[in-house]
Symmetry: C3
């Protein structure tokens, strides 16, 4: 199933419109190419409607948000909705500033999102901001661990149900959930946190997976998480003495480039809850 | 001749002003350094006139166009014209949106461009947009192949004649033409398309070649295309098992860094038509 | 002492707010992670006050200055002052345009800067622009060499005294000075100049060093310069045939990632004047 999702990306070469931050944008583009997709970047209001229309999916990332691009995000999101394209939101830094939190919530309200992908703090912020201020959400600890896993899974499903989106929470343990089903994924390597933008890269790749697998979005999102984590493991296994995070960054993208269905099926470590 | 163009860049270290997209800008800067030039980036209207004045050439790339930078592009272009600096236009995405197409056409009208470098679709858009909507232009297939080569060469020369620019169309086969002469270049490797921004990188490097070879702009543009393609071949030959597009990107820039006149003369695969 | 500064960064993982250019921003982020810090980028006026407040230090770099971000720089700088956070200014291109020079001077006037880090031309511009138009400043040659070293040290101390900042002038020989003391540092490798943004990277890392060593800012700034230069030496020693500036860029960041106190203490080449 996961391998099939990967092969659909390579076969269909989905064109993905990215409105993303300028910190990690080059890596997002190269990861999209590595996984079999094709990237376009455009963030100007006058430009985004036409660009979104020629693409298959939309990746919105608020990492270096500015006032000019917010209206472009909303317009592109609505247009993608009209066209039936998958839309992913990466709410980078939601909770760290009012502008980021409010923009993410405004995107949730005005655009029908297929997936929200972030770390647990960002996702908790959105879960609380969109209505509940108490309850299970606020009690979920800031990292998903084996100890609080059951609670975290329940939180992910609950937020997925309320928001109507697939919720992907990435960290040491990754969760990809809709209202009923949650993939718990244990691929990856701790040093991935020493590379800027592995989350942004995943969001770009996940949008390609959603676009190429419209009938199986939950599996597609989980497959993208497994690919990223497994690439982190393969990349780390190729590190040599003296290598550091710059080389590791390249090795991970290289591993995505070389990933095939068989490697993914064998290497993916997940359970469904 | 091509080797001489290369050596002029290394001797003169031309300073190039780049108004370019934020996706591939870092690679453009490193490629300019690799080939022997020196990069400056500036896209603010209040800043560009002085920056252009201290540079030797101007590279305009509309890859992540926004309203703020369009006026800076026009102003810098006109100033470069006043100063006799070469100006290159990379019309990224012309044809994909009205803003991009119109901006490219407006730059063609208001600035005297030395070179327009793009893929065949972008160049066709500009050829049609600037007056002709029928004729040879629209009949050129979207990829230059051995089968349609003669037609494509005629199109490149014709558009070069009408526009008064050198026209560089890059793809599997590259064409670099003025009204009378067309270099047909067969360097490169298909996997270069799996790296974001090899076109942008080439535009940056080509501007340095134009600047250091003001008396031989056609040859200089062709030389830059050969360097890029040959670097793609050399970079590919150094790839090892497990390497992918991230490593390939680095290997290509490394090969540009190490390119010398002799390697270029021996490795360049071109004919003049 | 230098090793202690390094270890404080690794222990404290300072979060650094960067308002920086889009050319080298990805490398700045990866260098901050490599040295043990953590990066956040934000340049929108409505966003920066909250982002600065959750950080420990602020790195302002005017490399691709635009009108929108100038007010964000000023606001973030003042907020950091209020909070007692270290602030570093990297005046990229000061002297090359009026906008850059005036913005840098305005930041010097309105924000209490802990460090100004630039090349000798940028620093000379600021020294002259802030009052003196004649005198020792204007006579300092444009590169710091063994021949003019004494004069350059006197200039650095004098400007540090007048501006109330630590002044870090980087080049073949690096100077890090307050009013009374100047570190003269001879680490590094000439080919570092063939990589875009090693100065920007150093500014990011230096801000992390300042933040983690608030009682020893002069030593911290000097330590960061030594780390960068030593990483340039170590990175170069790992270069293989066919490698160039792209691989060198990665090797330097890798060397920062692997740097420890012992390596730094043994490899740092400096004298105090």
């Amino acid at each position: 199933m996961l391998g099939c999702c990967l092969e659909n990306v390579r076969k269909q070469v989905p064109l993905i419109h990215n409105i993303t931050n300028y910190v990690t944008v080059n890596d997002v583009a190269n990861v999209l190419l590595a996984c079999g997709g094709s990237p376009i970047m455009s963030d100007e209001l006058e430009d985004v409607l036409e660009i979104t229309a020629i693409c298959g999916g939309l990746n919105i990332n608020i990492g270096t948000l500015n006032k000019r691009t917010i209206s472009a995000m909303l317009a592109a999101g609505k247009k993608s909705n009209e066209l039936g394209h998958p839309v992913l939101l990466d709410p980078v830094g939601a909770g760290a500033s009012k502008l980021r939190t409010e923009t993410a919530i405004s995107l949730m309200k005005e655009v029908r999102l297929d997936v929200i992908r972030g770390n647990i703090s960002e996702i908790k912020t959105l879960a609380q901001g969109s209505g509940t201020t108490k309850g299970v959400d606020a009690d979920v600890a800031d990292a998903v661990t084996e100890e609080n896993l059951e609670e975290a899974v329940a939180f992910a499903k609950s937020f997925a149900g309320r928001s109507g989106c697939i919720v992907a929470i990435t960290g040491a343990i990754d969760l990809v959930a809709d209202e009923k089903t949650c993939y718990v994924i244990r691929n990856g390597h701790p040093e991935m946190g020493k590379i800027t933008g592995t989350g942004c890269q995943l969001s770009g790749m996940m949008t390609a997976y959603l676009t190429a697998n419209p009938q199986n979005k939950l599996e597609a999102a989980a497959a993208a998480v497994c690919v990223m984590g497994l690439a982190g493991e393969i990349g780390w296994s190729r590190m040599q003495e003296g290598d550091g995070n710059a080389t590791y960054r390249n090795r991970i993208i290289d591993a995505i480039y070389n990933m095939d269905a068989n490697t993914l099926e064998k290497g993916a470590k997940y359970e469904v809850r």
